[in-house]
Amino acid sequence: MVQGRLPRNERTQLPEGLRMVEENLNSIKILLAKVGLDGHDRGIKVIARALRDAGMDVLYTGIKQTAESIVEAALEEGVDAIGISILSGAHMTLFPQIMRLMRRKGLDLLLIGGGIIPPQDIQALEKSGVNKLWGPDTPTREIIDYLKEKIPGDKKTS
């Protein structure tokens, strides 16, 4: 069960006072972070805006984030997904670190990312538990569709 998300059959139990019109219920909440010592975050900001325009709650935690700060923030904010932008090449250490921390803290949510990641590394990381990684210049539509497909009622198996 993805933390924080209510599967469709629980929707009718939403508190009367807080419920919105049906389509906008359960807006997806996602934490975006940029890891690495460089400060180039224009790309992730473009994605942040696109996700917001697609109806999501977007929490951008900034540049130069560490695995620890990202996972701690995800824990406090009750997000449905963590999206990492990484251009620096440290993805083979970073993603396993994040997954370790997530397990240790009991977090069960979608872990996705993108940036400068070679295809063979994408394969390896997805095999080891990262939900989805994309190469550079992926159209934001693809990310949005993926999240909308995976999150309502999604059962993460890792």
Binding site: L14, G17, M56, G78
Partner: protein, 306 residues
């Protein structure tokens, strides 16, 4: 998934993941006849500070300097609300990034949210999250709100102490802008006090304050700050503490909290009605909206209580 009672118990015992889950259920919805009623039954007490003001005034910056001192000796919650876009249904939760290092603290729990639901959802969600934190042993919560203060259910009305953060540029607009807040904020902070226009704003505020009933024993201070480098944070902390003492000694703390509960009750009723009316709203053109409204109310009042 564990049942909510177990999660709640674990949250009371201080387990962070469980605290997070309860807040998420409040933020995104859970049956009020269970979780929310449980919270009301416990009737937890938590000192609530609202930090409000126009966008760009420096609320997040100020909060970043108040966080560690306020977390001395007890657990501090910080709730930051951002508006939800009506057009897209999405939101940009941009307050946390301004504090990142400062909230990395074992006794601080920071949650951002955008209200989901009726116009009253922001108030009710923030208030219930604050109460929940109180149930989990938190001693204080700061709520950052995009200031408006013009309707009765604006978020500032839910706090024990309301701090209004302005900048010198607000001087000319003070008569027109955010009348509600100026009329009853407890502490004023003029941030970015290194900019011109302070005297103008100070006099405008003094004039507004003179209009307040003289019977009130609390004289709202007007503080200067440059939040960027932390100047003024200490004075603000002192003022908050002074106001807190005043509330306790004068009995206003309990009195105001009773008023909050009345407001909450009204908002729950309105919220539930809002949703039911929404559901019962006919599609297509209306001939007589007023008669239609009365018809809808008749229908929903005859619904069996769920």
């Amino acid at each position: 998934m564990k049942d909510w009672q177990t999660v709640f118990q674990n949250a009371v015992l201080g387990q962070k993941l469980s605290i997070s889950r309860i807040l998420t259920w409040i933020e995104r919805g859970r049956d009020p006849s269970d979780l929310i009623q449980k919270i009301y039954q416990l009737d937890p007490s938590i000192y609530t500070i609202a930090i409000t003001g126009p966008g760009g005034a420096g609320k997040s910056s100020l909060i970043s300097h108040l966080a560690h001192p306020l977390a001395q000796g007890h657990y501090l919650g910080i709730i930051a609300m951002d508006p939800r876009s009506e057009r897209t249904g999405g939101s940009f939760l941009g307050d946390r990034i301004r504090l990142s290092d400062k909230v990395n603290h074992p006794r601080i729990f920071y949650r951002s949210f955008a209200p989901l639901g009726t116009p009253f959802a922001g108030f009710l969600t923030a208030k219930m999250m604050a109460r929940a934190l109180g149930a989990f042993g938190f001693g204080c919560v700061m709520i950052e709100t995009p200031g408006a203060g013009q309707s009765e259910w604006d978020m500032e009305r839910l706090a024990d102490t309301t701090v209004l953060v302005l900048t010198p540029e607000c001087g000319d607009e003070i008569q027109m802008m955010k009348r509600g807040l100026v009329e009853w904020a407890d502490i004023f902070v003029i941030n970015k006090a290194d900019r011109p226009g302070i005297k103008n704003l100070e006099s405008a505020l003094q004039r507004e304050l003179q209009d307040r009933p003289h019977s009130s024993a609390w004289k709202p201070p007007i503080l200067l700050a440059t939040a960027q480098n932390g100047t003024g944070a200490e004075e603000l902390l002192e003022a908050i503490e002074k106001h807190h003492q005043h509330l306790k000694i004068s009995g206003a703390l309990e009195k105001n909290r009773e008023t909050h509960k009345h407001l909450e009750c009204m908002l729950w009723a309105l919220s539930i009605t809002w949703n039911r009316v929404n559901k019962a709203m006919p599609q297509g053109p209306l001939n007589n909206p007023y008669l239609e409204a009365k018809q809808i109310l008749k229908e929903i009042l005859h619904e069996r209580e769920r």
